[in-house]
């Protein structure tokens, strides 16, 4: 075989002029002359953080270079998140992957066919984009252009700035199928999203000696946030906190933490939460004073909870009643504060927001809000947005409200659209209705950063939406046929070690990430791509003329508008260490008493009633039941028994595996070797009944179609469930999911389909 020595490799990777062979989708580094570089060169240490999963943990990385090439990745000690996982280590393979997309490309054949790509210059790319988008703006209005980010989450604030400056409110993200419905649930309850939930957010982490009960509910930090496990386990070993783990699967989180594991039928979480509430209320184990003074709708809620008896809920959730009783007893006996640690599995049900509210309300019910060991709200929040841009930088606060009436999602999900918190720098279009927006001519073009159409249920409808747009451009690390076969142009994005924006933030500590290598080929950081497009569109002033200084200019603007008082120079001077922004006052508990939870600084909550709402007045106003009601999944053995006759298994997809994040990392050999093929997991009993063994090829079918995968017979799933990991091009599970959406959030129901599995 042809083998390129290290010395040759160095030359190739260093040569920004390395040619691309543009044959179909293979863009390879080409060989070049060897350069001389001794392997005994000294090691040079640089620092960065990982973005292999979801760009919120910022796991610290110590990068060891030799001859200017990344030689090794190690964890970074003395850092906030100081452990990395297999995906983090494997970033070295992504950086040097010869299949990375290195040049802007335009297609030479019609959309919908396997893409044939021709390399173009950035100039041509930017001119074309500007012509197309400005043309659409002139003819139909700027709002007809959607601006979409998938993965990474990092460039969101920059893309918002681009969208709003251009004049379109229609900026959306993959989070409209991921976790933002949790956020909505928080807003309906508290008026604002004060608490970063999920495995990566600080909200929900038990504090030793303070927290009495921790409920890990539908989350598996062992695989979604491995860096956090040791710390969480220390907390478990130290205090007298009891752990309830609710998960339909037997994950490592279960064996690491659970005092009680409730392995419920998917989609029944809401009933369980209401049962817990009933136990707390009936046993007088709730915080009467807090409920009395600071909440709204308690009577109605308490009355509603009454029907969720242990016996009934044991039947609904299909777990032994003794186990539910045990969990109730723990809650009643241990007292408060409690924390509930949740994740994006929650909203993937048609009743997702309400189920999550039912769970969420356990915390205020027990007086666990903004007290040590409960769900703490950050003191003196800084004006960063969730993606470490700022509302000032993204212009969500000044420009977006004026564009609000041009949002295209309001008629599908009015609550979602109306509850967007522009003040906090948020404005997320619900993208699940993209096929409808395009069909109705409401969206005619898009700028996408890292989008993968496989994330949506009935993927083909979204592919068609991209295809039917007048113009679609997408930036990415790779050519991804499932998406790029349907767009007009692709742009090469710089990977994490090649870019600077945004800063890493741990509460009040900021770290600058200096790029540690030059972008491969002609790849550009997404922040720069946004500035370059903005400049090409005619907004040179707003985007500092684009170019190489883009990231720096964006960082300066973000830091300035965040009001954190730290400048880019400060961060540079401290780098690789971070800069802590001290509190001006003293840390405070129970900030609802002192006005810290409302924009107007008055005591209470940012809700219609000014109180924490057990019955949501927003929901009532929009014609929904204001209670956190429990509803059976639309597709399920109980609600659709006729479907269940042919498709008796519950299709549970969308959860994490240790080696991949969503559709990513399939290019990365070390990780791909750990799960080379799509895996359909079923229990030993389900497998026996179907004559299936591990390794058999199986067909997974629903009313909507069928895909093929390799069977893995495993204890981790229930007998009535299938666990299928998503994001496989050759077996995209979202092709067989229904487009059933939660009417409140518009979220798809990835955890409640019905399916059958058979050997082929």
């Amino acid at each position: 075989m042809l083998k390129v020595s290290r010395r040759t490799f160095l030359k190739i990777a260093a040569a920004t002029g390395a040619g691309a062979s543009v044959l179909g989708k293979n863009i390879l580094f080409q060989s070049a002359d060897p350069v001389l570089a001794a392997s005994t060169s000294p090691e040079v240490v640089k620092y960065s953080h990982c973005v292999q999963c979801n760009h919120t943990p910022f796991c610290g990385m110590k990068l060891i270079f030799k001859d200017d090439k990344l030689y090794r990745i190690e964890k970074r000690s003395d850092y906030n998140n100081n452990l990395i996982c297999a995906k983090g280590v494997a970033a070295i393979q992504e950086l040097y992957d010869p299949e990375r997309l290195l040049y802007p490309m335009k297609r030479t054949n019609p959309k919908g066919e396997p893409g044939q790509w021709e390399r173009i210059s950035w100039d041509e790319a930017l001119t074309t984009i500007a012509d197309k988008l400005n043309g659409i703006k002139e003819k139909h209005g700027a709002e007809k252009v959607a601006f979409i980010t998938g993965d990474p989450k990092e460039p969101r604030s920059a893309l918002m700035r681009l969208a709003y400056t251009f004049g379109s409110p229609n900026f959306g993200t993959e989070s409209s199928t991921c976790f933002l419905a949790l956020d909505l649930s928080n807003k309906l309850t508290f008026g604002k999203n004060h608490f970063m939930t999920g495995p990566c957010g600080p909200g929900g982490n038990p504090v030793p000696g303070k927290t009495k009960v921790a409920i890990f509910w539908g989350t598996n930090p062992a695989w979604s946030a491995p860096f956090s496990v040791a710390g969480l386990r220390n907390a478990k070993e130290k205090g007298d906190c009891k752990y309830i783990v609710v998960d339909p699967r037997v994950t490592p989180t279960v064996h690491t933490f659970a005092d009680v594991h409730l392995q419920i039928r998917p989609g029944t979480d809401g009933a369980l939460a209401l049962c817990f509430a009933k136990a707390l209320i009936e046993n007088d184990a709730y915080d009467k004073e807090f409920v009395e003074k600071w909440t709204h709708g308690f009577e109605e809620y308490a009355e509603y909870c009454k029907q969720f008896t242990v016996e009934k809920v044991a039947e609904i959730c299909d777990v032994p009643a003794e186990r539910i009783q045990e969990a109730c007893d723990i809650l009643v006996k241990q007292g408060s504060p409690i924390v509930c640690k949740t994740a994006a599995a929650w909203p993937h049900h048609v009743n997702g927001v309400n189920s999550h509210r039912a769970m969420w309300l356990l915390m205020p019910l027990t007086g666990s809000l903004d007290v040590p060991g409960g769900l703490k709200v950050p003191d003196e929040p800084m004006d960063f947005d969730m993606w470490n841009g700022s509302p000032g930088f993204s212009r969500a606060r000044d420009l977006l409200p004026k564009l609000d009436d041009k949002r295209v999602d309001r008629k599908y999900v009015p609550i979602w659209a109306d509850m967007e918190d522009y003040y906090a720098g948020q404005g997320n279009l619900q993208l699940n209705f993209l096929p409808e927006y395009v069909r109705d001519g409401e969206i005619k073009a898009c700028v996408a950063l890292g989008v993968n159409a496989m994330m949506w249920p009935q993927t083909q409808e979204y592919q068609k939406a991209f295809q039917d747009m007048e113009f679609a451009v997408s930036a990415d690390f790779y050519i991804r046929p499932q998406t790029h076969d349907y767009v007009d142009m692709i742009l090469p994005a710089a990977m994490s070690f090649e870019r600077a924006c945004p800063v890493a933030r741990f509460g009040r500590k900021l770290f600058l990430r200096e790029p540690v290598v030059e972008p491969a080929g002609e790849a550009r950081p997404d922040y720069r791509i946004c500035c370059d497009i903005g400049t090409a569109l005619g907004f040179g002033d707003e985007f500092w003329g684009g170019g190489e200084k883009s990231e720096e200019n964006c960082l300066i603007e973000t830091l300035k508008t965040s009001g954190c008082g730290v400048t880019l120079e400060d961060l540079r001077a401290a780098s690789p260490e971070g800069v802590v922004i001290p509190l001006k006052g003293e840390p405070q508990d129970k900030k609802y008493e002192t006005g810290g939870l409302r924009y107007d600084g008055k005591p209470g909550f940012e809700t219609p009633t000014g109180k924490m709402e057990f019955t949501s007045e927003v929901l009532r106003k929009y014609g929904f039941d204001p209670l956190p009601i429990y509803k059976e999944p639309t597709q399920g053995p109980v609600s659709s028994p006729e479907v269940a006759k042919d498709f008796p298994l519950i299709l549970n997809s969308g959860s994490r595996v240790p080696m991949y994040t969503h559709s990513k990392q399939r290019h990365t050999p070390w990780l791909r070797d750990l799960m080379p093929e799509p895996i359909c997991r079923l229990s030993p009993k389900a497998a026996r009944e179907r004559g299936i063994e591990t390794g058999d090829e199986v067909e997974l079918s629903t009313q909507f179609g069928a895909i093929r995968a390799k069977a893995e017979v495993t204890n981790i799933v229930r007998d009535d469930c299938i666990d299928m990991f998503h994001g496989w091009e050759q077996a995209n599970v979202n092709l067989v999911h229904a487009r059933d959406f939660d009417p409140i959030s518009g979220f798809p129901s990835y955890k409640e389909g019905l399916c059958q599995v058979k050997k082929v």
């Binding site: 190690e74 297999a86 491995p226």
Partner: protein, 216 residues
Amino acid sequence: MATYGMVLNLDHCIGCYTCVVACKMFYGTRPGVDYNGVVPVEWGEFPNAKQRYQLPMCMHCIDAPCVTVCPVKATYASEEGVVLMDYDKCVGCGLCVTACPYDARTLVRDDVTHFEGIVLPHEEEASDRLNIVEKCTFCYGAVKNGGQPMCTVHCPGVCRIFGDVDDPESEISKYIKEKNAVRVEGTHIWYVAPADMPKEFLPMSPVEAAQAKAAK
């Protein structure tokens, strides 16, 4: 004199594979050449179903069979009890691969790298090795420089404790005592296991492992 050992706390393992990938990076091993592994094992049935992980690797046997069979003394034990390879001496006969009761050794036969035709910087050293046998070294080089094995450094579950078992004050000695870690007889590995883990899944002594291998 130090004696190196490692505790595998199977109760802490979260099956994340970081140990496997960190090791592959550090040694730049070729596709299919893994010095360690993570193997899920299961028992019980729903609603009491269990899944845990075995952590196979070289057990650094005392009186290791691989050392005994090597005709050219390429396989040897260091004074600290670490079973090592001298690649310059190895003739690739593969006798040690057969002799290893744990299948912890790989004869590197194929001149392949992870990206076809490309040797990445971290793979360069290993790319010179062909027709020789590779295995876990307890990261002897790093350890001698005051470091720790890569799998141990990077394990997010904190399952792996490494050090000098002769020194009663070392972290590993204290850990063994505190956790009542069990020594795998005839090796330099100790383990802590979940209380309900069936015996068949626990790490075996070289003698038991050899029997199991023969039975296969």
